[in-house]
């Protein structure tokens, strides 16, 4: 009863839809890295307002399910005048959500950097901006590389939720094909293996990168 033919017939279309999965998770991760670094700087800053903002930010984006965040971006943002295309909204929302997790990863990594380094940098007269961009963040990035690769894998999986705002990535495409072919088992399993393949490749690339970073 299991129809391999269905899988063979539909694999090209399904695989093509993976470009949206990759785009959303990849761009979302990059955006998350940028915002995450900023949130992290705020979280360890000496200004109470900045710390409070970082705390609220992390608590909100980690407390509200991503599915609801996506719907909020879709239903609510246009009401305040931000009516961007669905793809941009999806990447932005995934990025904002990832930033909350990435900022915590980076904060953990900062703790692993000897305090003396920042103190030495202050002593030789480096500006705070340079201390962050030249000394602290690059090292934090390197230390947290395994956790960041893991975060990217989480985002690949989380990107399945953007189906609710109308982006035809792997999951949405598999729903459409399952409904058209009456073959849900074959199609959803194929989708699952597609995600698995993407994530195994990312994990392998990540290990490779770690080896190269460990000079």
């Amino acid at each position: 009863m299991f129809s391999f033919q269905t899988i063979i017939d539909n694999l090209p279309v399904l695989a093509a839809s993976a470009r949206y999965t990759l785009l959303i998770s990849g761009a979302g991760c990059l955006l998350g890295l940028i915002f995450g670094a900023l949130i992290c700087v705020a979280a360890v800053s000496r200004a109470p307002a900045a710390r409070a903002f970082a705390g609220l930010y992390v608590s909100f984006f980690r407390g509200v399910p991503l599915l609801i965040q996506l719907l909020l971006a879709f239903y609510l943002l246009p009401l305040v005048g931000v009516n961007v295309p669905a793809l941009a909204a999806a990447i932005f929302t995934v990025g904002l959500c990832a930033a909350a997790y990435i900022s915590e990863i980076l904060r953990g990594a900062l703790n692993a950097i000897p305090r003396g380094q920042a103190e030495a940098a202050i002593a030789v007269g480096l500006s705070p901006r340079h201390i962050w961009t030249r000394i602290l963040l690059p090292q934090a990035l390197k230390i947290s590389m395994p956790a960041l690769v893991n975060e990217l894998i989480l985002l690949v999986k989380a990107s399945s939720l953007v189906t609710v705002v109308g982006i035809v990535e792997i999951t949405r495409m598999s729903q459409a094909i399952a409904s058209a072919t009456y073959r849900p088992l074959e199609i959803y399993l194929t989708a699952a293996f597609l995600y698995l393949a993407i994530n195994l490749v990312i994990a392998a690339l990540g290990r490779n990168l770690e080896r190269r970073l460990a000079w």
Binding site: M1, S59, S159, P184, Y188
Partner: protein
Amino acid sequence: MMELDLFREYGPALLRGLGVTIFCWIVGTACAMALGFLLALVQRGVSARPVQWILRAYVEFIRGTPFLVQLFVLYYGAPMLGLRLDAMPAGLLGLTIYGSPYFAEIFRAGLNAVPLGQIEAARAMGFAPATILRRIMIPVMLVSALPALVNFSIILTKETVILSMITVPEIMFETQTMMAETFAFAESTLVLALFFWVFVETISRIGRRLERRATHYLLDRS
């Protein structure tokens, strides 16, 4: 006034939805923990290669695929194999399967952290393996694993909203039903978001408190 009417009409359904959310979360988490613990024990206790391979493949597959797709396979796909589950049992089974490898990993790390000397000492004193597990390994393991267990259980709260996509009548599903009739899309979604924010913050706090208490209790006993 309008709000009151709305609440009178949809309040019961929303409360029921909240009940279903909490039920799914608690039962799903408990089952996932149980299965995860079993997996950790098998991984530790059975060294036969095929068993290890199957276990490894299971963990990789579940951790490498989205929860939503797993639910679709279970709910829409499994009937073709003769396994027809209603939305709620499918959702609970989905949560159990989805959470199990993460819990297994937490338990595995916890069990590895139990000092070998303690186990050997107990063995030397003639304790049965089951007694060693119950009296020594589990309490000691729990002390180191508790923070991660609490953390992942909280993550699972948020995953329960995904059950709405296979029509489990939890809070998200009930809210969407309400929205389809009241057209108050933005407001309802905002309220739902704020609700989850408060809910997750609250249970995180309770979780951390319980974690501290349980740690004291376990340390006292061992």
